[in-house]
Symmetry: C2
Subunit: 275 residues, 2 copies
């Protein structure tokens, strides 16, 4: 059995394209429909209630595109809205947190894992919960790094200033004995080289975009949802507001072939349509 | 004649409290109702259409509080939505751009003015237009500084790292001969000391929060809208989403007496209510 429908991916903005890149590499014959809520970016910093509502609206818009699976390529949304999405949607849903936590637990030797992300992701405690559910004895040090997203969006990916900010944020984590670091924000893989330079082998990086793509592959197999087509598959990108310079940064850094970007108005979710 | 109704102030978030601070100092007996759209912050980076719609929604919510005047304490909104607000609202409206431009034109000797702000404010070209309307021969160098807001929100106000970012952004401006710098974002007055250290007398700072408060004073006089009460007036702060750590940073740095912060849901503006 095979299923030619696209994989749906949503994020608060452009950062989730790192997940698209990882999906493209791992599953090159799957169509992908990506939806970025650039009109309301960032979700990080907004309340759980607000992020949950926005996530349901994004998922509804993906279902209108006939997707077979919804990937929540946004750590803030995965942290607070995944349960509600799972209850509500008619297709399988996957987030970025659980796969990242599983990879970190498999990788750590010191049983001390570091997690970095936006304020909302870190404040939610979602990674700690997921890591401790997998191994109750694990030691977690989590740190919000709100400067990293704007540095990435400036395109200052290999830059002394960015290295200083990374050292400021990560220095205390490596001093505490963290041997595995989860990149808990889908923007952060764009800084994987710079962060790797700082860590210099002192800790392993867990790239949550890559681990999420691996989990999508398993989920497709489990539900017999793989596409059977040969050859290159399509990638459609839609945004809720006009793209800014970061799209160019991401496109260049990720070397993604993105055609014309579509603009979509947010479908506001009226209470009566709640399922 | 006097008018005891509050002055309404809105911003995309918390940054507009710098305007409230300036209003408090200049007009201590005026009640103020402040509304921060923290559920959708930042406006900088969003499209003009979206910022215009959000601004109309915020203004409607202020009118429900019976304000006598609406201060658009947000450069992104002033840049793109002021005309529409002026056409639509039943009370006078004032933004932060025109007063800042007037102060800059009065201050410059080299006739070369620098403007810094968010991407949206700079991209809109609103300061250039306003400055050139006042003096067609003026030379303007504008630069978007997207790192400054998150640095301020981290509370890294007097910090070597912040000084480096400021030098990166402002170095080219002073080298080009700018002698007057407009802080075109209401967050930026919180970095006035750090920016002043970098400029070291090479350029004068125009603080758009302060110049906006002066313009409000003139507008109240022109429309006979001043409150006549003696003694301390009230300050109410409402946000569209739960406050984060930046409220504490701003409260401390500005030394503002803010009571309990109210939470308000955004009143979505249905097309039928458009006036």
């Amino acid at each position: 059995m095979s299923d030619p429908r696209p994989i749906g991916v949503f994020d608060s903005g452009i950062g989730g394209l790192t997940v698209v890149k990882a999906l493209r590499e791992l599953l090159p014959n799957e169509d992908i429909f990506y939806l970025g809520d650039t009109a309301r970016v960032p979700y990080g910093g907004k309340s759980a209630t607000t992020v949950e509502r926005y996530s349901l609206e994004m998922a509804d818009m993906l279902l209108e595109e006939n997707v077979k699976l919804v990937v929540t390529a946004c750590n803030s949304a995965s942290a607070v809205a995944l349960g509600r999405l799972e209850q509500t949607l008619s297709v399988p849903v996957i987030g970025v947190i659980k796969p990242g936590a599983q990879a970190a637990v498999a990788a750590t030797r010191s049983q001390h894992v570091g997690v970095i992300g936006t304020r909302a992701t870190i404040k939610s405690g979602a990674y700690e919960r997921e890591l401790r559910a997998l191994n109750p004895d694990i030691n977690v040090t989590a740190r919000a790094c709100p400067l990293l997203v704007p540095l990435i969006e400036e395109g200052w990916l290999d830059d002394g200033l960015t290295d200083h900010v990374i050292a400021r944020y990560l220095g205390p984590l490596t001093q505490e004995g963290v041997d595995t670091l989860v990149l808990g924000c889908t923007h952060y893989p764009l800084l994987a080289d710079a962060i790797g330079r700082f860590l210099a082998g002192k800790a392993k990086l867990v790239d949550s975009a890559h681990t999420c793509a691996k989990a999508v592959e398993q989920l497709l197999d489990r539900h017999s949802l793989r596409a059977s087509r040969g050859g290159a598959a399509s990638l459609q990108v839609a945004l809720t507001d006009a793209p800014d310079t970061f799209l160019a940064v991401a496109r260049r850094a990720l070397q993604l072939e993105i055609g014309e970007v579509q603009l979509r108005e947010v479908l506001h979710r009226a209470p009566a349509t709640a399922r």
